[in-house]
Symmetry: none
Subunit: 116 residues, 4 copies
């Protein structure tokens, strides 16, 4: 399910964080749903459990998942905010890119026309 690029400069644990975040925002992983156990995911991905743990820890600190010792790890109850934030982030990125293009001499109308 999770795709890893071992050649990438991006650390594996960060890739896991992004992937899980993506599955949650896309609704593939739903609120309160249980994630794979650390060991299980480590075996599935063929990596060390500590690396998975690092990813889970980061997601927990961001409030995206909840870890219950001896029980497992779960998607947080309320992740609406996360999704909204994600949307705004992406739109902001697009705005920055459009501004960059305008500086390079392309008009906004022209850009939008190309995107349609």
């Amino acid at each position: 399910m999770i795709n890893l690029d071992y050649q990438s400069r991006t650390p594996i644990y960060k890739q896991i964080v992004s992937e899980i975040e993506r599955y949650i925002t896309l609704g593939i992983l739903k609120p309160k749903e249980q994630l794979m156990s650390i060991r299980e995911m480590a075996i599935t991905l063929g990596i060390n459990p500590n690396t998975v743990k690092k990813a889970y820890t980061e997601l927990e600190q961001r409030g995206i998942i909840i870890t219950v010792s001896t029980k497992g790890t779960f998607v947080a109850d309320d992740i609406e905010k996360l999704i909204c934030l994600k949307k705004e982030q992406i739109i902001e990125e697009i705005r920055v890119n459009i501004a960059e293009l305008e500086k390079l001499g392309i008009k906004k109308e022209e850009i939008i026309q190309k995107l349609q």
Copy 2:
């Protein structure tokens, strides 16, 4: 003039490369124009000359700047290709972002409306 983020995972020399590239595409640095000397830039930015050297080497390998021994470093004559490539890159990034937003349930028309 050049902004560096020392906390970023992106190496300092890569950041310098991007910044100079940006100044050239934006026309702030013009073809044939002379760049700061390695030493001068190192002092200005408060970093190691080796780091600046690494950045200049990478830019030269890409054909963006030219180093003339004992004379200095200059922006290449023809940088039209670079600018075109940059434009296409940015447009591609925007396309990826729009696809991402569509997956999150926003229609393309809605996105474009927000951007105008």
Copy 3:
């Protein structure tokens, strides 16, 4: 009635111990009063009976409750000592906190004024 924090580093059984202790010191559970059976509490809290058992065992070892085989579990007759001890513990905690605040540059009079 009993609040558990499954995310806490404090083991569930320790949390149960604290909670029951708290109810006794506050007079919500009175001397000689019967506690829920292990099974009942386990079901109520949605946890493993072994966990409740462990909590009851610890409370019994401290002389706070008494288990009578086939009859049930009861709050001990004399829990005056427990209450006195609890009071002293809390006052000690406050003293430590005040010392901490003094180190941060707030005078004792100022602190006490804020508390009134």
Copy 4:
């Protein structure tokens, strides 16, 4: 400088976090001041570098310190907020404790008198 209790239930890395936080709030470590390198502190404390790293990572995520790769780790510029927050936290703890004591039948005036 940093005291560790290896018997404690509190993990070593959490103890390091608390200690450093304490030194900063007390002004022993000042804004922008450099912390010991990970390796140095690991050797000093006789523990594994990974454990120190874990502590530093947590402190950085809280915005208390700043890590600059290949340069070192530094106390954040602005830690005034941290200190204010700390003070409020402690005062809140005292308030909770006083409320607890009141439930146990001691009047507020009596408590404050004992503290003076």
